[in-house]
Symmetry: C2
Subunit: 189 residues, 2 copies
DNA sequence: GTTATTAACTAACAAGTGTTAGTTTTAAAT
DNA sequence: ATTTAAAACTAACACTTGTTAGTTAATAAC
């Protein structure tokens, strides 16, 4: 655990505020006040408000891309791959619930990097869908609408940032296991 | 279909813009421009920007509350009740995808009615959880963490507003059916 | 055809926005 | 002790924000 730089402090403080009110509703003065300094002082460490948002979102998006690369490569079955995706989301989200709020809700306020972000997201979803389709073909996954399946699972995983902070008692491993069970086997007896 | 009043036009236009950029990033001038009038003219029909948000969110929240009342009363099994909840979400969301974006993402910007909104939401979730717990007790639902089950299903249903506009070819009934299957039975073969 | 009523307009306000310039303090290096 | 660099400060800028006041145009009622 190396101690975070002032810049990282700004980014983390901003992410926390962005989670509460959204990027547009948070002012540079809000961020400064939360750190006990003046707004102008922030500019000794960052170039603009926009740069803070980019730092938060792009780092996370690339984490997901890297994780998906590994899962794609693995020579495991479709259901194991889906379980690994669940673990990926639980892990990344556990480490940065605040940032995940921006990734989910404030990506449209990206200015220079919007196209890059969208590219990463589309690729991620394409790989996700491929895993499901492959599973259906190999008879490991029930025959159904793969679009609905992906939407359902991904919606749940994308909402984890809201849920994890409220359930601190549930460990990451336990949560991933419980989620995998529900997402893969449903709730029907 | 009675023709919508000017006030309703403002609310619907606003909801559409709020969905794209969020409440805070949309200005009264944006709303006016989208309607081909000047910002000041909006105030002949509404009292404040805040009132627009309240109109969008509270109406939807009360629709959900009413729907849940009916489902709660019904003398059906737990799984049927869950299916009815899916239908409720699909129907309300299909009729107002734009408004659902505000309900999900901009509720924290409610000023006078925030507590009321939160009360409705907590009650809704309480009833939802009760249905799952009842189902487990009656052996209709797999024995597992009811909190995770509710979170998973509700996350999916709350994301419908993102998904329905992209899949216009899938009808409401068909979607509700496919979703129920996936949420209740999972994807495992 | 005059009168109300509705809904648009122009102009402006006070407060808040991100950001810059220039200066002072703090702390480390020589 | 002096110099240097990092990080804080004050003050201000140009612009945008929600909203109000006062006025004019369009529509319906009599």
């Amino acid at each position: 655990m190396k101690k975070e730089t002032r810049k990282e402090e700004i980014i983390n403080t901003s992410a926390k505020l962005f989670k509460e009110k959204g990027y547009s509703a948070v002012t540079m003065r809000d961020i400064a006040k939360a750190m006990g300094i003046k707004a102008a002082s922030l500019y000794n460490h960052i170039d603009s408000k926009q740069d803070i948002l980019i730092a938060i979102i792009i780092a996370l998006a690339e984490d997901f891309t890297k994780g998906m690369e590994l899962i794609k490569k693995a020579k495991t079955g479709s259901l194991e791959k889906l379980e690994q995706i669940v673990v990926l989301h639980v892990n990344i989200t556990s480490n940065n619930t605040d940032g995940m709020a921006s990734l989910n809700n404030d990506w449209m306020h990206l200015e220079g990097q919007l196209e890059y972000y969208l590219k990463l997201r589309v690729e991620y979803e394409d790989h996700f869908r491929d895993i499901i389709k492959e599973g259906i073909k190999k008879n490991e996954i029930r025959d159904g609408n793969p679009e609905i399946m992906m939407f359902s699972i991904l919606s749940t995983l994308r909402s984890l940032y809201l849920w994890i902070p409220k359930k601190e008692d549930v460990g990451a491993a336990e949560l991933a296991l419980g989620l995998s069970k529900v997402l893969i086997n449903g709730i029907n007896k």
